[in-house]
Symmetry: C2
Subunit: 461 residues, 2 copies
């Protein structure tokens, strides 16, 4: 495609001179992607003036002169709705911005003074920063590329609480035979029951859901490619027998749709977007999962291991073989750190690392530079101290989503993966707060500057 | 693309044996595309039993055995929601189906007995009929391919009642200079005012609206490619001067988006879908426009001339040069014929032919077989006769959308293009009716069988 060639060539030139960087922000839904991107853009726009970015050397040293939005390169990708997000935060009372759906993009042109002015280009330089925001759910589909339809069916599990959420679908699918012929409209109905199960599971706080695009169909709503589902009871079947079934059979029809999903839904995202990102940050709502109990927490852990496979650039990994990505730096952040008291922040980072222990090992082995941290993109609480039985105790002050002033101690974050004892004590009670009213300057945050330093700091020296 | 090659090859084989036909249904919004397709599928499914298809020889001669839905070929195109449409018609009270958005598809496998059984394949045969439904608004964008941005700007007119509908946008755009630099977010705002003008104009009954995709953005909502607008006041500008403006200038930015729209929005529809249709029917709501007054009627006429350019296969036409389409038969139908008394039907067809006189001449010159007719896809009224001043007079009986029983004479349809005299007399008062309750059999219709005969009859002999 001529467009891609030109674009790739231009990108190459710009990046060769260290003047362009493509940074992607992802996370499962409700992890805080929109808040993160909104705050990031806001901080850079206020850099040099009101923004507090002490952990970003270029800002601390007064060399960061500011940033402005310029036209993005991919005219066919929705622009990240920064103004709409800011308007929500400036509303009275302030509201959290609407979550984005699908991929969006925003380009900043950053002006800075290098540490040592070069002999060309005067004493200020520009960095073009392309920001992308996309649903982490799309990454959950990568492992699907390693399956054929039969092995994918066998890998799906509907036990525990999920059994109930998928009960309607399971009733309908129970009597189906791989060899039978099922009418188009009937297939669409059963597939809709399956999609309803996925939606119900997401509503109930589950994260490990496949296929991801069933949750955000967009213009593909009603297309056969989003109308398949796993066939239960294939364990005993001979793969060769299944392959021999006629094209009108249920098995062959679903397998055809599964392959189409792999080819025309999963792969294009990696090919057209993912492999072109230079750096990424993955946001994780650890506190939300902690609040939701052991089954959801376990599920988040599984979903994250799966999601992190997209960053495993080991030479033999599926990803490297298929798409040759080139990310040279990765950040993983536990968001909403302002929802626990400050002395818990180190524990929050520790818990995130424990949660991602296995994938982090793989990444280090594959020599992908990665950093874990905890942050609050937009701080919604003030730390306080209260007297409790004669002792000073840390607390948070904020306004709940329902508009009530609250002063509370949400509890201790476990430093390691929580055990039965922790869940038994129910040691954690997370309250959601609305954003603080903004007083003109940049949005208040916690350690967003640390994330910025890791993600773009080396390009501003 | 390997997919397209395989598909094309398979199509070619099937079509070579006269066993596959790709039939597209289009029309501007509210022309009745959903009702037409729903009824067409319903008639063919009931063929041989309850359906009344006397004008289709295969049905009249008892050779049409029936049709069933089978899996469509393009798994990534939404399936036409036939069941949902039928459920709306079977509701009590019956409702018109929800209109479709974008393109949709449905495949029927039709069984019939040929007039003379061949020496292979027994005495029944199959015809695979692929049905497509897409917005006629997309065709209004074809002429946009003949323009560059400057000439497109000069071709846009905002006079008469449109001046008012686009007033907000015109206020914002009036002081802009082609050479100035305009901030991204400001551009998005002005583009949104323009899109609001288009939406308001459509609501007010106008049809000739460009660019068509601004009205149904889908997943492109918020993308820069849908954020351009015509720049007024370019008449005096020297084209060479405009071309020399820097890439950040307003003119260059809008022109870039305009070109992207041509390349990545308009052309792909023609390349991937349009050029693969064998036959098409264009539905026109002549009565609705007649009801809306002279300015809307004039506008519909302009929109139709523009839309019909997509069917002008003359050797020098833009379409032939770009896409080499292969439609071998075209129908143009005035819909909702049941909303006038039966003796007016011939006049309705006459008026449609008058409205399309110029494009029809071009099509005949280009040797494209075309037929004009009037029909009601789903009949909503019963013809009656009433006594009026001692004379028998034709009338219609039906239930209005508000649920009132009505017996009325909507007026005479002018046989030729209406003149000032007609509009002065206000000779026509169209009432919208709700569908008749269905009593089990096929949907009642008027001359849908005639349309079927023209569009697929020759494949059933």
């Amino acid at each position: 495609m001529p467009r891609d060639l030109t674009r790739d060539f231009h990108d190459l030139l710009e990046r060769g001179r260290d003047r362009q960087l493509r940074l992607a922000v992802t996370g499962l839904s409700r992890a805080g992607k929109t808040a993160f991107l909104t705050s990031l853009v806001d901080q850079l726009r206020h850099a040099g003036l009101e923004a507090r970015l002490d952990l970003l050397p270029a800002a601390r040293e007064g060399r960061l002169l500011g940033a402005r939005r310029v036209e993005q390169q991919d005219l066919g990708v929705p622009r990240f709705p920064f103004d709409r997000a800011l308007a929500a935060l400036d509303d009275s009372p302030p509201r959290w911005p609407e979550p984005t759906r699908g991929i969006s993009e925003l380009r900043l042109s950053i002006r800075y003074r290098p540490r040592r002015p070069g002999w060309v280009g005067g004493d200020t330089r520009r960095l073009t920063l392309d920001l992308f925001d996309y649903p982490g759910e799309w990454l959950l589909d990568l492992p699907l590329l390693e399956h054929d339809f039969a092995s994918w069916c066998r890998a799906q599990r509907f036990d525990g609480e999920r059994a109930m959420l998928f009960a309607d679908w399971q009733r309908e699918v129970a009597d189906l035979e791989p060899a039978q012929e099922v009418e188009e409209s009937r297939l669409a109905e059963i597939a809709e029951r399956y999609a309803e199960g996925l939606r119900a599971a997401r509503e109930a706080g589950f994260s490990d859901l496949q296929p991801g695009r069933f949750l955000l169909p967009g213009e593909l709503a009603g297309a056969p490619v989003l109308q398949f589902f796993p066939l239960p009871g294939l364990d005993a079947a001979d793969p060769a027998d299944l392959e021999r079934l006629p094209p009108e059979s249920l098995y062959a029809t679903l397998a055809r749709r599964f392959r189409h999903y792999q080819q025309y839904i999963v792969k294009p995202f990696y090919r057209e977007h993912f492999r072109r990102f230079d750096r990424q940050i993955v946001l994780v709502d650890v506190l939300g999962a902690l609040n939701a109990g052991p089954e959801r927490f376990e599920d988040l852990s599984r979903a994250l291991s799966r999601l992190m496979q997209s960053f495993d650039y080991g030479r033999r990994s599926l990803l490297s073989r298929l798409f040759a990505p080139r990310i040279d730096r990765l950040a993983i952040a536990a968001t909403k750190a302002d929802h626990v008291t400050p002395e818990q922040h180190a524990r929050l980072t520790g818990l995130l690392e424990a949660l991602l222990a296995e994938p982090l090992k793989d990444l280090r082995f594959a020599d992908v530079p990665v950093r874990a941290l905890s942050l609050a993109s937009i701080r919604a609480t003030e730390p306080r101290e209260v007297d409790h039985r004669g002792k000073r105790q840390p607390a948070l002050r904020g306004t709940t989503l329902e508009g009530e002033e609250a002063l509370l101690f949400p509890g201790e974050v476990p430093e390691r993966l929580p055990d039965a004892d922790f869940w038994g004590r129910q040691g954690f009670a997370f309250t959601a707060f609305r954003p603080l009213p903004r007083d003109g300057g940049a949005l208040p945050h916690i350690r967003l500057d640390a994330a910025l330093d890791w993600l773009i700091g080396d390009k501003l020296t």
